[in-house]
Amino acid sequence: MAAILRSSVLRKMAGALATLFGVAVFVFFMLRAIPGDQISASLGTEAAGLTEAQRQALVEYYGIDQPLTTQFFSWLANLFAGDLGFSVRAQQPVLDLTVAALPVTFQLAVFAILLALIIGVPIGMLSASAPKKARDFLGQTVSLLGLSIPAFLLATTLLTFFAVNLGFNPNGLGYKTLFEDPVVNLQQMFLPSLVLGFGISAPIIRTTRAAVLEIRGQDFIRTARAKGITVQRIQFRHILRNALIPIVTMTGLQFGYLLGGAVVVEQIFSLPGIGRQVLMGIQQKEYALVQSTVLVIAASFVIINLLTDLLYRAIDPRVRAE
């Protein structure tokens, strides 16, 4: 039994590794599709002023004269050695930038997920408790708005409203980490995670509602009721416990959405996260930065999906038995 479990977990991990390799190939060749080379991309118009010797030195430095496969594997080898490239604009290794940016996005994502669960699960349960009644309609409306209001619109509106009407704009100052200044940090994280959390509360409301409705109609709930267990106990111990499986799956899926959605929100609220790093790389045509950062994000996404899968097995014994 344990051996089977381990082997299927191992198979999942091998699959994730294979996917990651494919992702690396895809990212590498996608960014090679850009017209022009690394030299003109990083130097811009200054590239025209290079002497032939300078240009040759740069070609060798970037390895542009090498075949693409050689370039790819040397990039990969560098990645494993912890060398993600160098950002010319920031005058810093990409690794340092990434190490500073990842926790910002991660904290934002965790806060957003928590807010989404706090908003989504109760509304979903409330919705399911009286299908087609007023409170269900209300729940469905909240989830429809969550799906339909673009994050950038909500973010822009909230930022303006809080800054102008309440004089609350903690993001206008420089970013502070949780350890530097917890109070400022939490204030700076509040609106961005609310924006993202509201967006992903929609699928959580829908998942919770559908799961609760489905489980409520099953035989073991009737049995539990016949045994005289209180409604509240059934609600939490029997229904919610079982509904957790799809909710956890949905939450894991949304985590990936957050890594992408964070781009917009980090940009608007000036949070120095990983999404903003990609965007700055794109805007400043620093493709070495974009290439490594996108790979780091995709790798985090694959790892999170793998963890969700494992967590899912821990919650649902039936999956293990398969």
Partner: protein
């Protein structure tokens, strides 16, 4: 499951869609918005969306400029509606690309299994490894920028979803009696796939198309908000909202007009998606009723 769904079934579904309150409501809004976009682009209603009238800068909504004007004296109503038009075009093209390529990957992979399937699921897994918006914006940044490449970037992101939702049904369909019967009559694999399997996964694909449209509109708007959509001065809802950030204090309509229209547009598309899913997928109907 959906073994009897043929063209006739889908026609019946369309009637069901317009006779359901939610479906009719969403179609009415969409027809209204896209109709206005057409009228603006034909020059029947409003103004040229890119024409600048400096004397009329930042006017509040009035009887001439229904949604007011922006910092260049351009008519916001015309720009918003024209933006709805280009966003619809980009989204429809994007979802078409995703549906065609994704369904083909799912169809061939599920039908032939083996190496074909391995490649198909491999590509699917790789594309799924990216957060959707991140992949769209990276693709948009490497492609030469015009409305079509934006549509391609958004389309590629949605290919894996179509591949995944169609592959499962194809896997079970290939074992079903009528497919086996077709094979025993000597019909070729391609014939079986397109004549017998494809029509039976059409409802799955149609549901996914309906659900994807709203997402495509939101992605297009996010890309243009970030400056990676169709290049200016082409009006786009996302870039209008981006420009309005600095104007909202003196001219709030510059933010609220495009904001309200995009929310209405996406709400209508989401309602349409939900209605289509409830009609074509009996399982979801059970749950949502």
């Amino acid at each position: 499951m959906a073994t009897t769904t043929k063209t006739k079934g889908n026609k019946g579904a369309f009637l069901k869609l317009v006779s359901s309150g939610r479906g009719l409501f969403s179609i009415a809004i969409l027809v209204g918005l896209i109709g206005l976009a057409f009228l603006v682009n034909l020059g029947v209603v409003g103004f040229d969306p890119t024409a600048q009238t400096p004397a009329d800068r930042l006017l509040a909504p009035n009887s001439t400029y229904w949604f007011g004007t922006d910092q260049f004296g351009r008519d916001i109503f015309s720009r918003v509606m024209s933006g709805v038009g280009s966003s619809s075009l980009i989204s429809v093209v994007a979802v078409t690309i995703a549906a065609v390529f994704g369904t083909l990957i799912g169809l061939f992979g599920g039908f032939y299994r083996g190496a074909v399937d391995l490649v198909g699921t491999g590509v699917t897994n790789i594309l799924f490894a990216f957060p959707p918006l991140l992949l769209a914006l990276t693709l948009a940044s490497v492609l030469d920028r015009n409305w079509f490449t934006v549509a391609v970037a958004i389309g590629i992101v949605y290919v894996p979803i179509f591949a995944r939702v169609t592959r499962g049904p194809v896997l079970s369909l290939r074992e079903i009696e009528f497919v086996k019967a077709a094979r025993s009559t000597g019909m070729g694999s391609l014939g079986i796939m397109f004549r017998h399997v494809l029509p039976n996964i059409s409802s799955v694909a149609i549901i996914q198309i309906a659900l994807s449209l709203s997402w495509a509109v939101l992605t297009e708007a996010a890309l243009s908000f970030l400056g990676l959509g169709s290049p200016p001065p082409a009006p786009s809802l996302g870039s209008m909202i981006y420009e309005a950030r600095t104007l909202v204090l003196i001219a709030p309509w510059t933010l609220y007009a495009p904001g309200a229209v995009i929310v209405t547009f996406v709400v209508a598309l989401n309602l349409l998606g939900d209605s289509v899913r409830d009609i074509l997928d009996p399982r979801s109907r059970e749950v949502s009723n």
